[in-house]
Amino acid sequence: MKTQQSFAQRAWAFIKGNPIVIMLALLSIAVGCFVDNFFSLDNLNNLLCNTTIRFLIALGVSGCLITKGTDLSAGRQAALAATLTGVMVQRADYASKLFPWMPEMNMWLVLLIVLAVGAAIGTATGVIVSYLNVPPFIATLGVQTIVYGINLIYTNAQPIGGFSDGFKDFFNGKILPMGSFKGFNGYILFALLFGLLFWFMYNKTTHGKYIYAIGGNENAAEVSGVNVRVRKTIIYMTAGIMYAFAGFLLTGKSGGASASMGVSYELEAIAGCTIGGVSTTGGIGTVGGMLIGVLVFELLKIILQFVGADPNFNYIVQGLVVISAVAMDIRKYVAKK
């Protein structure tokens, strides 16, 4: 039965299976030939930095997608984490400090609190999805607006700045390895770290196997002894933690925070996952694929920026790419007639 495929056959299969990736690779080579500085370390660093945040969110949302769910609240949750971080790391002597009674807090403690809040929101979402049986699309749409509302109310919709030196130093590179590392921003390392963690989870732990099993056939998974409700709750909780972490980094990187951050990050993350081969019909998806998907998406943005396109065109192009990605993914299943 097994036939040894030649290299050419396998290469062709890869090209057929990943048309968007190939197209963008060719496009970026073309752009690189005509536009200066496209192939530069600076630009690569920029690309990877942009990718990091989206990739972290994509990792969070991937479990929801693999189990045929989704999470539309990712961006707003990240924004809440961002403002929470901002509020807690504001200098005690900062003139327009939002909560003047609040002491200056250690950034690691802040991180812990922010992650805990993310976990709580994620758990709540998970409970709504798996115990109240609200379809994930609706449940997370609701959570999205609730989180946004909370965020606007408690920050008075004001931007938050004036961060403590400890916090700024960490992201400015006075403390290794966060700063410039041979031209690269160190916080790319977080993408690497969490990518590995999630790869490990999906491939080497029972929880990861159960996620695929639920996506493959939820009823069969339950019958096989998987506690689907608990697993799903954990998936959304993990997602919440990832969004919170992304929000924390967002504040650190941009040196400020506001409730309007993170708009449509979930859509970009979902798009990245889909381009990277996470199947919309459940049960399929790899961390490597997600990384490629998110990278490709960010690359597309940078290409548009380099060729001098009106930034608003980005939206249209991105939409088209997402639709084509899903259409081509679905084709793999319907074309087998």
């Binding site: 039965m1 097994k2 491939n203 080497k204 732990t205 029972t206 196997k209 159960y210 695929y212 099993a213 996506g215 493959g216 056939n217 009823n219 069969a220 998974a221 339950e222 019958v223 096989s224 002894g225 998987v226 506690n227 199947s279 019909t281 459940g282 049960g283 399929i284 087998k336 007639k337």
Partner: protein, 505 residues
């Protein structure tokens, strides 16, 4: 004019890696029932899908009433007069019988003289007419979701009749019907025959084939084996042509010896008053307890209740005297109970996942290093063991399970449960939709498990299988246990008598 209504000749169809049809042929005469037979994977359904325009043939010709035709899609097939009642019925449960039958071709009228709207009165009147024709007397306004499986099937047939079909394909029409419903179906088929409709009848059930069909075409491995007149055919002959060898033993010789009672169920009652109630029984160590009954006897519901898929109100389950609390499947599994569910696709396989993932999912905790890292080598060994022991045919452990044949999928699922080394194994229709060769292999596995001291509970709707395999048979009717029959004394008659012992109201 040809003597045939429809001819398919030299049909070839390949899927990636498989040649599903290799010069298959089928010739249908008007007003005759033509049985199409073959093991699962022989290409029957593929051939029908080519006829119905769902698949495109790679090679071959179709002649309809002597004219060469090409059928691009199901719409074209329907317009030509070819209709198909699928193996899995696909009605729209929330809509009425009438709406289902006339879906896509609603009778129209003009509202206010110019706005086209659906003519509901005509639609329901026509539906009543059609239902009368297929001898069904239920309301055309009823929601299809409220009908029984056999009624839904009648709706599908009525739909085919309403399209004035000349060729009707029935794919496993009796797989979920009771004896009475089968009789009703056969009466409809006789009517259609008298009207000159050509019927393709696909089934694994020999007695039905011998009774209802006029001609039999047998396929094997996508190839055409031959066509015979049904008169004078025997079961043995058909089976030997289907499997390509003489089949001597339908059931393995049994060497298991039932020991002491280990699994006890007492007064088990569902939360649904129409489902199982006051069920008490026990199973011995090394015993195969068959569970018989008609469709609707609540056998599956009872077993799913014991396994924690469905809820119960009262009742106790004991294993070796120890009481088991079962609220969900995980509890049952932790207590050493396993259950192979009835509907392989709905609650068994995870289609897009690999054979390895499917076989290991219920026992993952056994393959951990350091308590949390899955050791893929151990999982591979599990796959290798099972592939070897049960003769599972799969290209590799990474193959998606949905690309295997039904029999091999079932073996993978059996392997999934055996990996946990359960004490009690519940098998719900373990050989449903599996071809003859694989059935025998599954029987051997079951017998061997009983011999090794496991307690087996086996639901089966095939009388012969029930009698051939069981040490004892528990018979249910309408949610209650109506009696037990010793395997040696079991006959179709005494089981049937218990299975139809309804409570007199």
């Amino acid at each position: 004019m040809s003597e045939y209504r429809l001819e398919m000749r030299g049909v070839c169809k390949s899927f990636p890696g498989v040649k599903a049809l290799d010069h298959a042929q089928l010739c249908l005469r008007p007003g005759k029932v033509h049985a199409l037979m073959g093991e699962n994977g022989a290409g029957k359904s593929t051939l029908m899908k080519c006829m119905f325009g769902i698949y495109k043939m790679d090679e071959g010709e179709i002649y309809y009433e002597g004219q060469k035709v090409t059928i691009k899609d199901p719409m074209e097939a329907l317009n030509m007069g070819i209709a198909m009642v699928h193996q899995e019925l696909q009605p729209i449960p929330a809509r009425t019988v009438g709406e289902n039958i006339f879906l896509g071709r609603y009778p129209m009228k003009k509202f206010l003289g110019f706005i086209p709207v659906v003519d509901h009165d005509k639609m329901y009147a026509d539906t009543d007419e059609l239902l009368k024709k297929v001898r069904m007397n239920f309301d055309s306004h009823q929601k299809v979701g409220e009908l029984s499986v056999s009624q839904m099937q009648s709706v599908e047939i009525a739909k085919a009749v309403s399209a004035n079909c000349k060729v009707l394909i029935l794919d496993e029409p009796t797989s979920s019907l009771t004896a009475n419903e089968v009789e009703a179906l056969f009466r409809i088929i006789e009517d259609l025959k008298a009207d000159g409709v050509s019927i393709v009848y696909i089934s694994h059930k020999m007695d039905e084939i011998l009774r209802i069909s006029d001609e039999v075409t047998i396929m094997r491995d996508g190839q055409y084996i031959g066509t015979w007149d049904s008169q004078g055919l025997t079961t043995d002959f058909i089976i030997s042509k289907m499997v390509g060898r003489e089949l001597t033993n339908l059931y393995p010789e049994k060497h298991n010896t039932p020991g002491e009672v280990v699994f006890e169920v007492e007064n088990f009652t569902s939360i649904n008053p129409k489902s199982f109630r006051n069920v008490s029984f026990n199973v011995r160590k090394g015993e195969i307890l068959g569970v018989g009954g008609l469709v609707g006897a609540q056998r599956t519901e009872l077993m799913e209740g014991l396994f924690g898929i469905r809820s119960h109100t009262t009742g106790t389950i004991r294993y070796q005297g120890r009481e088991l609390t079962v609220d969900r499947p995980k509890d049952a599994i932790d207590h050493g109970v396993a259950m192979l569910t009835e509907d392989r696709r709905a609650t068994g396989i995870m289609g897009v996942l690999s054979v390895a993932d499917n076989i290991s999912v219920a026992s993952l905790k056994q393959y951990l290093d350091l308590g949390f890292v899955i050791n893929n080598g151990k999982v591979e060994n599990l796959v290798k063991d099972n592939v070897h022991k049960m003769n599972i045919k799969t290209p590799s452990s990474k193959t998606q399970i949905q690309s295997l044949s039904g029999g091999n999928q079932q073996k993978v699922l059996v392997g999934r449960w055996l990996a946990n080394d359960p004490d009690v194994l519940i098998l719900d229709e373990p050989t449903r939709g599996i071809d003859v060769g694989a059935k025998y292999e599954i029987y051997c596995i079951i017998e061997e498990l009983a011999r090794s001291g496991k307690s087996i509970i086996m639901i089966s709707s095939e009388m012969a299988e029930l009698i051939g395999m069981s040490d004892r048979i528990m018979v249910m009717c309408d949610g209650r246990v109506t009696g037990f029959v010793d395997g040696k004394d079991a006959t179709q008659e005494n089981i049937m008598e218990l299975a139809t012992r309804f409570e007199t109201v």
